[in-house]
Protein backbone atom coordinates (compact mmCIF):
# COMPACT_ATOMS: atom_id res chain seq x y z
CA UNK A 1 0.00 0.00 0.00
CA UNK A 2 2.84 2.39 0.78
CA UNK A 3 4.30 1.56 -2.63
CA UNK A 4 1.03 2.56 -4.16
CA UNK A 5 1.07 5.75 -2.11
CA UNK A 6 4.54 6.60 -3.35
CA UNK A 7 3.50 5.96 -6.90
CA UNK A 8 0.54 8.19 -6.34
CA UNK A 9 2.41 10.99 -4.62
CA UNK A 10 5.35 11.33 -6.93
CA UNK A 11 3.49 12.47 -10.04
CA UNK A 12 1.30 14.70 -7.87
CA UNK A 13 4.31 16.30 -6.24
CA UNK A 14 5.94 16.76 -9.58
CA UNK A 15 2.82 18.35 -10.97
CA UNK A 16 2.71 20.74 -8.01
CA UNK A 17 6.25 21.82 -8.55
CA UNK A 18 5.57 22.12 -12.27
CA UNK A 19 2.64 24.38 -11.59
CA UNK A 20 4.70 26.62 -9.37
CA UNK A 21 3.64 30.02 -10.58
CA UNK A 22 6.52 31.22 -12.69
CA UNK A 23 5.87 33.74 -15.39
CA UNK A 24 8.69 32.79 -17.75
CA UNK A 25 11.31 30.14 -17.94
CA UNK A 26 14.36 32.35 -18.13
CA UNK A 27 13.70 34.78 -15.36
CA UNK A 28 16.81 35.70 -13.42
CA UNK A 29 16.68 36.78 -9.83
CA UNK A 30 18.00 40.20 -10.76
CA UNK A 31 15.00 40.83 -12.97
CA UNK A 32 12.64 43.33 -11.25
CA UNK A 33 9.49 41.50 -12.48
CA UNK A 34 10.66 38.29 -10.87
CA UNK A 35 10.99 39.99 -7.48
CA UNK A 36 7.45 41.39 -7.72
CA UNK A 37 6.11 38.01 -8.84
CA UNK A 38 7.90 36.33 -5.98
CA UNK A 39 6.50 38.74 -3.39
CA UNK A 40 3.00 38.44 -4.78
CA UNK A 41 3.36 34.70 -4.74
CA UNK A 42 4.50 34.65 -1.14
CA UNK A 43 1.63 36.94 -0.15
CA UNK A 44 -0.75 34.65 -1.97
CA UNK A 45 0.63 31.63 -0.14
CA UNK A 46 0.31 33.42 3.20
CA UNK A 47 -3.33 34.24 2.58
CA UNK A 48 -4.04 30.66 1.57
CA UNK A 49 -2.36 29.44 4.74
CA UNK A 50 -4.36 31.89 6.84
CA UNK A 51 -7.56 30.76 5.17
CA UNK A 52 -6.73 27.15 5.85
CA UNK A 53 -5.94 27.89 9.48
CA UNK A 54 -9.34 29.49 9.81
CA UNK A 55 -11.02 26.52 8.15
CA UNK A 56 -9.21 24.14 10.44
CA UNK A 57 -10.18 26.10 13.54
CA UNK A 58 -13.83 26.17 12.48
CA UNK A 59 -13.77 22.45 11.73
CA UNK A 60 -12.13 21.69 15.05
CA UNK A 61 -14.72 23.64 17.03
CA UNK A 62 -17.59 22.25 14.98
CA UNK A 63 -16.66 18.63 15.53
CA UNK A 64 -15.85 19.30 19.16
CA UNK A 65 -19.27 20.82 19.78
CA UNK A 66 -20.96 17.87 18.11
CA UNK A 67 -19.11 15.39 20.24
CA UNK A 68 -19.92 17.40 23.35
CA UNK A 69 -23.58 17.10 22.35
CA UNK A 70 -23.71 13.67 23.93
CA UNK A 71 -22.42 14.99 27.24
CA UNK A 72 -24.88 17.86 27.09
CA UNK A 73 -27.70 15.43 26.35
CA UNK A 74 -26.77 13.32 29.36
CA UNK A 75 -26.65 16.35 31.64
CA UNK A 76 -29.93 17.56 30.15
CA UNK A 77 -31.60 14.22 30.80
CA UNK A 78 -30.59 14.18 34.43
CA UNK A 79 -31.61 17.79 34.98
CA UNK A 80 -34.94 17.54 33.14
CA UNK A 81 -35.94 14.31 34.86
CA UNK A 82 -34.99 15.58 38.30
CA UNK A 83 -36.71 18.90 37.79
CA UNK A 84 -39.96 17.27 36.80
CA UNK A 85 -39.70 14.73 39.59
CA UNK A 86 -39.06 17.30 42.31
CA UNK A 87 -42.68 17.64 43.57
CA UNK A 88 -42.84 13.91 44.22
CA UNK A 89 -39.49 13.82 45.95
CA UNK A 90 -40.36 16.79 48.13
CA UNK A 91 -43.68 15.25 49.09
CA UNK A 92 -42.50 11.74 49.90
CA UNK A 93 -38.80 12.09 50.51
CA UNK A 94 -36.49 9.13 50.56
CA UNK A 95 -39.40 7.11 51.95
CA UNK A 96 -40.64 7.00 48.32
CA UNK A 97 -38.20 4.25 47.49
CA UNK A 98 -39.77 1.62 49.70
CA UNK A 99 -43.34 2.86 50.01
CA UNK A 100 -45.72 0.14 48.80
CA UNK A 101 -48.63 2.05 47.39
CA UNK A 102 -49.92 3.19 44.02
CA UNK A 103 -53.08 5.19 44.55
CA UNK A 104 -53.62 7.57 41.67
CA UNK A 105 -56.86 9.03 42.99
CA UNK A 106 -55.53 9.96 46.43
CA UNK A 107 -52.09 10.80 45.01
CA UNK A 108 -50.21 8.33 47.20
CA UNK A 109 -47.34 6.80 45.32
CA UNK A 110 -44.47 4.54 46.12
CA UNK A 111 -41.77 3.15 43.91
CA UNK A 112 -41.40 -0.18 45.73
CA UNK A 113 -43.83 -2.20 43.59
CA UNK A 114 -42.22 -1.17 40.34
CA UNK A 115 -38.68 -1.52 41.65
CA UNK A 116 -39.42 -5.03 42.93
CA UNK A 117 -40.93 -6.03 39.59
CA UNK A 118 -38.01 -4.55 37.64
CA UNK A 119 -35.36 -6.17 39.79
CA UNK A 120 -37.12 -9.56 39.88
CA UNK A 121 -37.69 -9.80 36.13
CA UNK A 122 -34.18 -8.59 35.35
CA UNK A 123 -32.73 -10.98 37.93
CA UNK A 124 -34.56 -13.97 36.49
CA UNK A 125 -33.46 -12.90 33.01
CA UNK A 126 -29.81 -12.83 34.11
CA UNK A 127 -30.08 -16.18 35.91
CA UNK A 128 -31.27 -17.77 32.67
CA UNK A 129 -29.06 -15.80 30.31
CA UNK A 130 -25.74 -16.23 32.15
CA UNK A 131 -25.28 -20.00 31.70
CA UNK A 132 -26.73 -19.88 28.18
CA UNK A 133 -24.39 -17.08 27.15
CA UNK A 134 -21.45 -18.88 28.74
CA UNK A 135 -22.31 -22.03 26.82
CA UNK A 136 -22.65 -20.13 23.57
CA UNK A 137 -19.34 -18.33 24.11
CA UNK A 138 -17.56 -21.59 24.94
CA UNK A 139 -19.04 -23.26 21.88
CA UNK A 140 -18.12 -20.41 19.55
CA UNK A 141 -14.55 -20.16 20.79
CA UNK A 142 -13.63 -23.77 21.45
CA UNK A 143 -15.69 -26.44 19.75
CA UNK A 144 -17.21 -24.76 16.73
CA UNK A 145 -15.61 -25.52 13.36
CA UNK A 146 -14.01 -22.37 12.02
CA UNK A 147 -16.17 -22.07 8.91
CA UNK A 148 -19.30 -22.12 11.09
CA UNK A 149 -18.18 -19.49 13.57
CA UNK A 150 -19.11 -16.38 11.64
CA UNK A 151 -22.62 -17.49 10.55
CA UNK A 152 -23.50 -18.72 14.03
CA UNK A 153 -22.07 -15.58 15.60
CA UNK A 154 -24.14 -13.48 13.21
CA UNK A 155 -27.24 -15.54 14.03
CA UNK A 156 -26.83 -14.87 17.74
CA UNK A 157 -26.29 -11.18 17.03
CA UNK A 158 -29.50 -11.13 14.99
CA UNK A 159 -31.26 -12.01 18.22
CA UNK A 160 -30.06 -8.66 19.48
CA UNK A 161 -31.24 -6.87 16.37
CA UNK A 162 -34.86 -7.99 16.64
CA UNK A 163 -36.86 -5.01 17.91
CA UNK A 164 -38.24 -5.41 21.38
CA UNK A 165 -41.83 -4.94 20.34
CA UNK A 166 -41.58 -8.14 18.34
CA UNK A 167 -40.35 -9.97 21.41
CA UNK A 168 -43.38 -8.54 23.17
CA UNK A 169 -45.80 -9.79 20.54
CA UNK A 170 -44.07 -13.14 20.46
CA UNK A 171 -44.28 -13.33 24.22
CA UNK A 172 -47.94 -12.39 24.42
CA UNK A 173 -49.38 -14.38 21.54
CA UNK A 174 -47.13 -17.39 21.15
CA UNK A 175 -45.02 -17.89 24.20
CA UNK A 176 -47.70 -17.26 26.84
CA UNK A 177 -50.02 -20.16 25.87
CA UNK A 178 -47.14 -22.58 25.43
CA UNK A 179 -45.58 -21.45 28.68
CA UNK A 180 -48.88 -21.71 30.53
CA UNK A 181 -49.60 -25.24 29.36
CA UNK A 182 -46.15 -26.77 29.34
CA UNK A 183 -44.25 -24.89 32.00
CA UNK A 184 -46.56 -23.32 34.53
CA UNK A 185 -48.89 -26.28 34.99
CA UNK A 186 -46.11 -28.85 35.49
CA UNK A 187 -44.18 -26.49 37.76
CA UNK A 188 -47.20 -25.87 39.90
CA UNK A 189 -48.21 -29.53 40.14
CA UNK A 190 -44.65 -30.68 40.82
CA UNK A 191 -43.30 -28.00 43.10
CA UNK A 192 -46.41 -26.17 44.27
CA UNK A 193 -46.85 -28.41 47.25
CA UNK A 194 -43.26 -28.35 48.46
CA UNK A 195 -42.71 -26.80 51.86
CA UNK A 196 -40.05 -24.15 51.31
CA UNK A 197 -40.40 -23.17 47.68
CA UNK A 198 -44.05 -24.01 47.04
CA UNK A 199 -45.20 -20.43 47.44
CA UNK A 200 -43.00 -19.46 44.50
CA UNK A 201 -45.20 -21.41 42.14
CA UNK A 202 -48.62 -20.54 43.41
CA UNK A 203 -51.12 -18.24 41.85
CA UNK A 204 -53.27 -18.27 38.75
CA UNK A 205 -52.02 -19.86 35.54
CA UNK A 206 -52.31 -17.02 33.07
CA UNK A 207 -49.19 -17.36 30.93
CA UNK A 208 -48.07 -13.93 32.05
CA UNK A 209 -46.24 -12.78 35.10
CA UNK A 210 -42.82 -12.15 36.53
CA UNK A 211 -41.34 -15.46 35.38
CA UNK A 212 -42.69 -15.05 31.85
CA UNK A 213 -41.22 -11.57 31.65
CA UNK A 214 -37.93 -12.90 32.95
CA UNK A 215 -37.77 -15.61 30.31
CA UNK A 216 -38.56 -13.25 27.43
CA UNK A 217 -36.05 -10.72 28.78
CA UNK A 218 -33.36 -13.40 28.98
CA UNK A 219 -33.54 -13.95 25.23
CA UNK A 220 -33.23 -10.25 24.63
CA UNK A 221 -30.21 -9.95 26.88
CA UNK A 222 -28.54 -13.21 25.83
CA UNK A 223 -26.80 -11.91 22.67
CA UNK A 224 -25.14 -9.01 24.46
CA UNK A 225 -23.72 -11.11 27.25
CA UNK A 226 -22.68 -13.83 24.79
CA UNK A 227 -20.94 -11.31 22.53
CA UNK A 228 -18.93 -9.79 25.39
CA UNK A 229 -18.02 -13.22 26.75
CA UNK A 230 -16.94 -14.43 23.32
CA UNK A 231 -14.80 -11.33 22.81
CA UNK A 232 -13.01 -11.70 26.13
CA UNK A 233 -12.57 -15.45 25.63
CA UNK A 234 -10.92 -14.77 22.30
CA UNK A 235 -8.36 -12.38 23.75
CA UNK A 236 -7.02 -14.97 26.18
CA UNK A 237 -3.40 -15.37 25.15
CA UNK A 238 -2.96 -18.50 23.10
CA UNK A 239 0.13 -19.43 25.05
CA UNK A 240 -1.91 -19.86 28.24
CA UNK A 241 -4.36 -22.18 26.54
CA UNK A 242 -1.70 -24.06 24.62
CA UNK A 243 0.33 -24.73 27.73
CA UNK A 244 -2.77 -26.04 29.50
CA UNK A 245 -3.50 -28.32 26.57
CA UNK A 246 0.12 -29.35 26.61
CA UNK A 247 -0.27 -30.50 30.20
CA UNK A 248 -3.11 -32.76 29.12
CA UNK A 249 -6.14 -30.71 30.14
CA UNK A 250 -9.46 -31.38 28.50
CA UNK A 251 -11.20 -28.53 26.67
CA UNK A 252 -13.67 -28.02 29.49
CA UNK A 253 -10.86 -27.84 32.03
CA UNK A 254 -9.03 -25.28 29.93
CA UNK A 255 -12.13 -23.13 29.85
CA UNK A 256 -12.95 -23.47 33.51
CA UNK A 257 -9.46 -23.33 34.99
CA UNK A 258 -7.54 -21.13 32.56
CA UNK A 259 -9.78 -18.99 30.37
CA UNK A 260 -12.48 -18.14 32.88
CA UNK A 261 -10.18 -16.97 35.69
CA UNK A 262 -8.17 -14.92 33.22
CA UNK A 263 -11.26 -13.20 31.83
CA UNK A 264 -13.43 -13.08 34.92
CA UNK A 265 -13.41 -9.30 35.10
CA UNK A 266 -14.63 -9.04 31.51
CA UNK A 267 -17.21 -11.76 32.06
CA UNK A 268 -18.63 -9.91 35.03
CA UNK A 269 -18.62 -6.75 32.92
CA UNK A 270 -20.63 -8.51 30.24
CA UNK A 271 -23.11 -9.77 32.81
CA UNK A 272 -23.59 -6.29 34.18
CA UNK A 273 -24.07 -4.97 30.65
CA UNK A 274 -26.85 -7.49 30.17
CA UNK A 275 -28.31 -6.52 33.52
CA UNK A 276 -28.31 -2.86 32.56
CA UNK A 277 -30.20 -3.67 29.39
CA UNK A 278 -32.66 -5.91 31.16
CA UNK A 279 -33.46 -3.27 33.74
CA UNK A 280 -34.36 -0.70 31.10
CA UNK A 281 -36.32 -2.85 28.67
CA UNK A 282 -39.81 -1.59 28.05
CA UNK A 283 -41.90 -3.14 25.32
CA UNK A 284 -41.18 -6.82 25.81
CA UNK A 285 -41.83 -6.55 29.54
CA UNK A 286 -45.01 -4.48 29.14
CA UNK A 287 -46.58 -7.18 27.02
CA UNK A 288 -46.02 -10.10 29.35
CA UNK A 289 -45.60 -8.87 32.88
CA UNK A 290 -49.31 -8.56 33.53
CA UNK A 291 -49.34 -4.92 34.60
CA UNK A 292 -50.85 -5.23 38.06
CA UNK A 293 -49.87 -2.56 40.56
CA UNK A 294 -49.28 -4.82 43.50
CA UNK A 295 -46.35 -6.65 44.99
CA UNK A 296 -45.91 -10.05 43.38
CA UNK A 297 -46.28 -12.91 45.83
CA UNK A 298 -45.16 -15.68 43.54
CA UNK A 299 -43.28 -16.15 40.31
CA UNK A 300 -46.51 -16.55 38.42
CA UNK A 301 -48.24 -13.45 39.72
CA UNK A 302 -48.41 -10.35 37.57
CA UNK A 303 -46.40 -7.38 38.54
CA UNK A 304 -45.09 -4.24 36.97
CA UNK A 305 -41.74 -2.79 36.15
CA UNK A 306 -40.70 0.84 36.12
CA UNK A 307 -40.53 0.95 32.33
CA UNK A 308 -43.90 -0.73 31.87
CA UNK A 309 -45.63 1.58 34.32
CA UNK A 310 -44.22 4.52 32.37
CA UNK A 311 -45.39 3.09 29.06
CA UNK A 312 -48.86 2.34 30.35
CA UNK A 313 -49.69 5.33 32.47
CA UNK A 314 -47.84 8.29 31.03
CA UNK A 315 -50.36 9.00 28.32
CA UNK A 316 -53.07 10.05 30.74
CA UNK A 317 -51.12 11.23 33.74
CA UNK A 318 -51.59 14.60 35.36
CA UNK A 319 -50.71 16.40 38.51
CA UNK A 320 -48.66 14.50 41.03
CA UNK A 321 -49.05 11.31 38.99
CA UNK A 322 -47.16 13.02 36.18
CA UNK A 323 -44.35 14.07 38.51
CA UNK A 324 -44.22 10.60 40.04
CA UNK A 325 -43.74 9.02 36.64
CA UNK A 326 -40.84 11.35 36.03
CA UNK A 327 -39.47 10.33 39.44
CA UNK A 328 -39.67 6.68 38.38
CA UNK A 329 -37.90 7.54 35.13
CA UNK A 330 -35.20 9.33 37.08
CA UNK A 331 -34.74 6.33 39.38
CA UNK A 332 -34.56 3.97 36.42
CA UNK A 333 -32.00 6.15 34.67
CA UNK A 334 -29.85 6.37 37.79
CA UNK A 335 -29.95 2.62 38.37
CA UNK A 336 -29.10 1.74 34.78
CA UNK A 337 -26.46 4.46 34.62
CA UNK A 338 -24.68 3.03 37.66
CA UNK A 339 -24.93 -0.57 36.42
CA UNK A 340 -23.75 0.31 32.91
CA UNK A 341 -20.89 2.46 34.24
CA UNK A 342 -19.61 -0.41 36.35
CA UNK A 343 -19.98 -2.75 33.38
CA UNK A 344 -18.08 -0.40 31.09
CA UNK A 345 -15.33 0.09 33.66
CA UNK A 346 -14.93 -3.68 34.10
CA UNK A 347 -14.84 -4.33 30.36
CA UNK A 348 -12.35 -1.48 29.92
CA UNK A 349 -10.07 -3.10 32.48
CA UNK A 350 -10.05 -6.28 30.45
CA UNK A 351 -9.26 -4.35 27.28
CA UNK A 352 -6.38 -2.63 29.05
CA UNK A 353 -5.02 -6.01 30.11
CA UNK A 354 -4.96 -6.92 26.44
CA UNK A 355 -2.73 -3.91 25.93
CA UNK A 356 -5.25 -2.06 23.83
Amino acid sequence: MSVGLCLMITPMTVRMIDNWPMTSTHTTSAHPDAAVDNAAHIANMRSVAKKQRLQDAVFHRLTQSFSLLVLIALAGIIVALFYNALPTFTKFGIHFLWYVEWDIVNEEFGAAISIVGTVLSAGIAMLIAMPLAFGIAVFLTETCPVWLRRPLGTAIELLAAVPSIIYGMFGLFVFAPVYADHMQVPLQTLLGGMPLIGWLFGGAITGLGILAAGIILSFMVLPFVAAVMRDVFEITPAILRESAYGLGCTTWEVVRKVVLPYTQVGVIGGIMLGLGRALGETMAVTFVIGNANRLPNSLFSPGTSIASVLANEFGEAGGLHFNTLFAMGFLLFCITFVVLSVAKWLINRTEKAKGN
Binding site: T143, E157, F326
Partner: protein, 281 residues
Protein backbone atom coordinates in the same frame (compact mmCIF):
# COMPACT_ATOMS: atom_id res chain seq x y z
CA UNK B 1 -5.70 -43.62 37.61
CA UNK B 2 -7.83 -44.36 34.55
CA UNK B 3 -10.89 -43.88 36.74
CA UNK B 4 -9.91 -40.25 37.26
CA UNK B 5 -9.22 -39.90 33.56
CA UNK B 6 -12.63 -41.33 32.74
CA UNK B 7 -14.23 -38.85 35.09
CA UNK B 8 -12.42 -35.95 33.50
CA UNK B 9 -13.37 -37.10 30.04
CA UNK B 10 -16.97 -37.41 31.13
CA UNK B 11 -16.98 -33.93 32.63
CA UNK B 12 -15.52 -32.59 29.41
CA UNK B 13 -18.16 -34.33 27.33
CA UNK B 14 -20.99 -33.13 29.54
CA UNK B 15 -19.68 -29.58 29.58
CA UNK B 16 -19.21 -29.32 25.84
CA UNK B 17 -22.57 -30.94 25.16
CA UNK B 18 -24.23 -28.45 27.47
CA UNK B 19 -22.55 -25.58 25.66
CA UNK B 20 -23.72 -26.96 22.32
CA UNK B 21 -27.20 -27.22 23.81
CA UNK B 22 -27.02 -23.57 24.84
CA UNK B 23 -26.11 -22.63 21.29
CA UNK B 24 -29.00 -24.74 20.00
CA UNK B 25 -31.40 -23.05 22.42
CA UNK B 26 -30.30 -19.65 21.16
CA UNK B 27 -30.76 -20.69 17.55
CA UNK B 28 -34.12 -22.29 18.29
CA UNK B 29 -35.30 -19.07 19.93
CA UNK B 30 -34.24 -17.03 16.89
CA UNK B 31 -35.88 -19.35 14.39
CA UNK B 32 -39.00 -19.71 16.50
CA UNK B 33 -39.45 -15.95 16.60
CA UNK B 34 -38.85 -15.64 12.86
CA UNK B 35 -41.19 -18.53 12.13
CA UNK B 36 -43.94 -17.03 14.27
CA UNK B 37 -43.46 -13.65 12.63
CA UNK B 38 -43.71 -15.05 9.14
CA UNK B 39 -46.57 -17.42 9.76
CA UNK B 40 -48.70 -14.81 11.47
CA UNK B 41 -47.68 -11.81 9.47
CA UNK B 42 -47.56 -13.20 5.96
CA UNK B 43 -51.32 -13.39 5.67
CA UNK B 44 -51.49 -9.69 6.43
CA UNK B 45 -49.06 -8.79 3.64
CA UNK B 46 -51.59 -7.74 1.05
CA UNK B 47 -51.73 -4.61 -1.09
CA UNK B 48 -54.42 -3.25 1.24
CA UNK B 49 -51.77 -3.08 3.96
CA UNK B 50 -49.96 -0.41 2.03
CA UNK B 51 -52.94 1.35 0.50
CA UNK B 52 -55.38 1.81 3.36
CA UNK B 53 -55.06 3.82 6.52
CA UNK B 54 -55.48 2.46 10.02
CA UNK B 55 -59.04 1.43 10.73
CA UNK B 56 -61.20 2.85 13.48
CA UNK B 57 -61.99 0.61 16.46
CA UNK B 58 -64.49 -1.98 15.40
CA UNK B 59 -64.42 -1.29 11.67
CA UNK B 60 -63.22 -3.93 9.27
CA UNK B 61 -60.19 -4.16 7.04
CA UNK B 62 -57.81 -1.27 6.93
CA UNK B 63 -54.11 -1.03 6.36
CA UNK B 64 -51.02 0.61 7.73
CA UNK B 65 -50.30 3.21 5.11
CA UNK B 66 -50.24 6.19 7.43
CA UNK B 67 -48.08 4.31 9.91
CA UNK B 68 -45.56 3.27 7.27
CA UNK B 69 -45.35 6.74 5.78
CA UNK B 70 -45.10 8.31 9.21
CA UNK B 71 -42.35 5.95 10.27
CA UNK B 72 -40.42 6.61 7.07
CA UNK B 73 -40.64 10.33 7.65
CA UNK B 74 -39.67 10.24 11.30
CA UNK B 75 -36.81 7.78 10.80
CA UNK B 76 -35.72 9.65 7.66
CA UNK B 77 -35.49 12.97 9.43
CA UNK B 78 -33.68 11.36 12.32
CA UNK B 79 -31.12 9.79 9.99
CA UNK B 80 -30.64 13.12 8.22
CA UNK B 81 -29.92 14.81 11.52
CA UNK B 82 -27.82 12.15 13.21
CA UNK B 83 -25.60 11.28 10.24
CA UNK B 84 -23.56 14.49 10.06
CA UNK B 85 -23.55 14.97 13.81
CA UNK B 86 -22.49 11.40 14.50
CA UNK B 87 -19.84 11.27 11.79
CA UNK B 88 -18.32 14.63 12.68
CA UNK B 89 -18.33 13.75 16.37
CA UNK B 90 -16.63 10.46 15.51
CA UNK B 91 -14.03 12.36 13.49
CA UNK B 92 -13.42 14.60 16.47
CA UNK B 93 -12.88 11.64 18.79
CA UNK B 94 -10.40 10.04 16.41
CA UNK B 95 -8.52 12.96 14.93
CA UNK B 96 -8.54 15.69 17.53
CA UNK B 97 -9.60 14.35 20.86
CA UNK B 98 -7.72 11.10 20.79
CA UNK B 99 -6.65 10.53 24.38
CA UNK B 100 -7.66 13.74 26.06
CA UNK B 101 -9.79 13.59 29.19
CA UNK B 102 -12.81 15.07 27.44
CA UNK B 103 -12.64 12.45 24.72
CA UNK B 104 -12.35 9.63 27.26
CA UNK B 105 -15.38 10.88 29.14
CA UNK B 106 -17.29 11.35 25.87
CA UNK B 107 -16.57 7.79 24.80
CA UNK B 108 -17.65 6.49 28.20
CA UNK B 109 -20.90 8.43 28.14
CA UNK B 110 -21.56 7.40 24.52
CA UNK B 111 -21.28 3.74 25.41
CA UNK B 112 -23.68 4.19 28.28
CA UNK B 113 -26.18 6.05 26.12
CA UNK B 114 -26.00 3.12 23.70
CA UNK B 115 -27.56 0.84 26.29
CA UNK B 116 -29.64 3.38 28.18
CA UNK B 117 -33.37 2.73 28.52
CA UNK B 118 -35.03 4.36 25.55
CA UNK B 119 -38.19 5.23 27.46
CA UNK B 120 -36.20 7.60 29.65
CA UNK B 121 -34.97 9.35 26.50
CA UNK B 122 -38.61 9.66 25.47
CA UNK B 123 -39.40 11.27 28.81
CA UNK B 124 -36.56 13.72 28.38
CA UNK B 125 -37.64 14.74 24.89
CA UNK B 126 -41.20 15.09 26.17
CA UNK B 127 -40.12 17.55 28.82
CA UNK B 128 -37.96 19.46 26.36
CA UNK B 129 -39.83 19.39 23.05
CA UNK B 130 -43.43 18.53 23.78
CA UNK B 131 -44.49 20.20 27.01
CA UNK B 132 -42.67 23.38 25.97
CA UNK B 133 -44.62 23.74 22.73
CA UNK B 134 -47.78 22.19 24.08
CA UNK B 135 -48.37 19.45 21.52
CA UNK B 136 -46.88 16.20 20.31
CA UNK B 137 -44.99 16.27 17.05
CA UNK B 138 -43.11 14.18 14.60
CA UNK B 139 -40.14 16.47 15.16
CA UNK B 140 -39.99 15.47 18.81
CA UNK B 141 -40.12 11.83 17.76
CA UNK B 142 -37.23 12.37 15.38
CA UNK B 143 -35.30 14.13 18.12
CA UNK B 144 -35.74 11.19 20.45
CA UNK B 145 -34.64 8.74 17.77
CA UNK B 146 -31.62 10.90 16.94
CA UNK B 147 -30.56 10.74 20.59
CA UNK B 148 -30.41 6.97 20.17
CA UNK B 149 -28.81 6.98 16.72
CA UNK B 150 -26.03 9.51 17.32
CA UNK B 151 -24.08 7.37 19.84
CA UNK B 152 -24.30 4.38 17.49
CA UNK B 153 -22.96 6.36 14.53
CA UNK B 154 -20.27 7.99 16.70
CA UNK B 155 -19.03 4.69 17.99
CA UNK B 156 -18.89 2.87 14.67
CA UNK B 157 -17.34 5.86 12.87
CA UNK B 158 -14.65 6.14 15.50
CA UNK B 159 -13.88 2.41 15.36
CA UNK B 160 -13.62 2.50 11.58
CA UNK B 161 -11.52 5.64 11.39
CA UNK B 162 -9.03 4.12 13.78
CA UNK B 163 -8.42 1.34 11.29
CA UNK B 164 -7.32 3.77 8.58
CA UNK B 165 -3.50 3.61 8.47
CA UNK B 166 -1.67 6.68 9.67
CA UNK B 167 0.52 6.71 6.58
CA UNK B 168 -2.48 7.74 4.49
CA UNK B 169 -3.11 10.77 6.67
CA UNK B 170 0.56 11.66 6.79
CA UNK B 171 0.83 11.49 3.03
CA UNK B 172 -2.04 13.95 2.71
CA UNK B 173 -0.55 16.24 5.36
CA UNK B 174 2.80 16.19 3.61
CA UNK B 175 1.10 17.55 0.52
CA UNK B 176 -0.01 20.57 2.49
CA UNK B 177 -3.67 19.68 2.87
CA UNK B 178 -5.44 21.40 5.74
CA UNK B 179 -6.56 19.14 8.56
CA UNK B 180 -10.24 19.27 7.70
CA UNK B 181 -9.56 18.18 4.14
CA UNK B 182 -7.47 15.27 5.39
CA UNK B 183 -10.23 14.19 7.77
CA UNK B 184 -13.08 14.39 5.30
CA UNK B 185 -11.60 13.79 1.89
CA UNK B 186 -8.92 11.28 2.74
CA UNK B 187 -9.62 9.44 5.99
CA UNK B 188 -13.41 9.39 5.79
CA UNK B 189 -13.31 8.43 2.13
CA UNK B 190 -11.01 5.51 2.91
CA UNK B 191 -13.37 4.30 5.62
CA UNK B 192 -16.49 4.96 3.56
CA UNK B 193 -17.95 1.46 3.60
CA UNK B 194 -17.41 1.04 7.32
CA UNK B 195 -19.17 4.31 8.03
CA UNK B 196 -22.07 3.25 5.83
CA UNK B 197 -22.25 0.03 7.81
CA UNK B 198 -22.54 2.05 11.00
CA UNK B 199 -25.31 4.12 9.46
CA UNK B 200 -27.21 1.00 8.39
CA UNK B 201 -26.92 -0.43 11.87
CA UNK B 202 -28.15 2.83 13.38
CA UNK B 203 -31.13 2.90 11.03
CA UNK B 204 -31.93 -0.70 11.88
CA UNK B 205 -31.76 0.15 15.56
CA UNK B 206 -34.07 3.15 15.45
CA UNK B 207 -36.66 1.71 13.07
CA UNK B 208 -37.72 -0.75 15.71
CA UNK B 209 -37.76 1.58 18.71
CA UNK B 210 -41.17 2.09 20.24
CA UNK B 211 -40.70 3.58 23.68
CA UNK B 212 -39.16 6.91 22.61
CA UNK B 213 -42.03 7.54 20.22
CA UNK B 214 -44.72 6.81 22.79
CA UNK B 215 -44.70 10.25 24.33
CA UNK B 216 -43.18 12.29 21.57
CA UNK B 217 -44.81 11.55 18.25
CA UNK B 218 -47.73 9.81 19.94
CA UNK B 219 -49.93 8.37 17.24
CA UNK B 220 -52.38 9.45 14.62
CA UNK B 221 -55.34 7.53 13.32
CA UNK B 222 -55.37 9.38 10.02
CA UNK B 223 -52.97 9.94 7.21
CA UNK B 224 -50.89 13.00 7.87
CA UNK B 225 -47.59 14.35 6.65
CA UNK B 226 -47.54 17.22 9.10
CA UNK B 227 -44.45 16.69 11.23
CA UNK B 228 -45.53 19.38 13.64
CA UNK B 229 -48.44 17.32 14.93
CA UNK B 230 -48.89 13.83 16.35
CA UNK B 231 -47.73 11.44 13.72
CA UNK B 232 -48.63 7.87 13.05
CA UNK B 233 -45.75 5.46 13.22
CA UNK B 234 -45.44 1.73 12.87
CA UNK B 235 -44.09 0.66 16.29
CA UNK B 236 -46.66 2.59 18.35
CA UNK B 237 -49.47 1.40 16.09
CA UNK B 238 -48.34 -2.16 16.64
CA UNK B 239 -48.27 -1.56 20.38
CA UNK B 240 -51.77 -0.16 20.32
CA UNK B 241 -53.21 -2.81 18.02
CA UNK B 242 -51.60 -5.81 19.66
CA UNK B 243 -53.02 -5.07 23.08
CA UNK B 244 -56.52 -4.57 21.68
CA UNK B 245 -59.39 -7.05 21.44
CA UNK B 246 -60.11 -6.53 17.74
CA UNK B 247 -59.21 -9.32 15.36
CA UNK B 248 -58.33 -7.17 12.35
CA UNK B 249 -56.23 -4.91 14.56
CA UNK B 250 -54.20 -7.84 15.82
CA UNK B 251 -53.77 -9.08 12.28
CA UNK B 252 -52.54 -5.66 11.19
CA UNK B 253 -50.18 -5.63 14.16
CA UNK B 254 -48.59 -8.87 12.95
CA UNK B 255 -48.26 -7.44 9.46
CA UNK B 256 -46.58 -4.34 10.81
CA UNK B 257 -44.30 -6.42 12.99
CA UNK B 258 -43.28 -8.46 9.96
CA UNK B 259 -42.49 -5.31 7.98
CA UNK B 260 -40.33 -3.90 10.75
CA UNK B 261 -38.58 -7.21 11.34
CA UNK B 262 -37.85 -7.69 7.65
CA UNK B 263 -36.45 -4.18 7.34
CA UNK B 264 -34.29 -4.52 10.46
CA UNK B 265 -32.98 -7.98 9.64
CA UNK B 266 -32.27 -7.04 6.04
CA UNK B 267 -30.32 -3.97 7.09
CA UNK B 268 -28.37 -5.99 9.63
CA UNK B 269 -27.51 -8.77 7.21
CA UNK B 270 -26.47 -6.28 4.53
CA UNK B 271 -24.32 -4.42 7.01
CA UNK B 272 -22.68 -7.48 8.49
CA UNK B 273 -22.27 -9.63 5.40
CA UNK B 274 -21.67 -7.22 2.55
CA UNK B 275 -19.38 -4.90 4.47
CA UNK B 276 -17.86 -7.51 6.72
CA UNK B 277 -14.19 -6.77 6.10
CA UNK B 278 -14.56 -3.15 6.98
CA UNK B 279 -16.03 -3.40 10.41
CA UNK B 280 -15.17 -5.35 13.51
CA UNK B 281 -18.43 -6.08 15.20
Amino acid sequence: MSNLYQKRKLTNLVGLTLSMTAMAIGLVALFWILFVLFSNGLSALQPSLFLNDTPAPGSEGGGLRNAIVGSLMIVGLSVLVSTPIGILAGIYLTEYGDSSKTAEITRFVTDIMLSAPSIVLGLFVYSVAVSTVGHFSGYAGSMALSLIAIPVVMRTTENILRLVPGSLREAAFSLGAPRWKVSIMVTLRAAKSGVITGLLLAVARISGETAPLLFTALNNQFFSTNMNAPMSNLPVEIFQFAMSPYENWIQLAWGGALIIALAVLLLNIIARVVFREKVKV
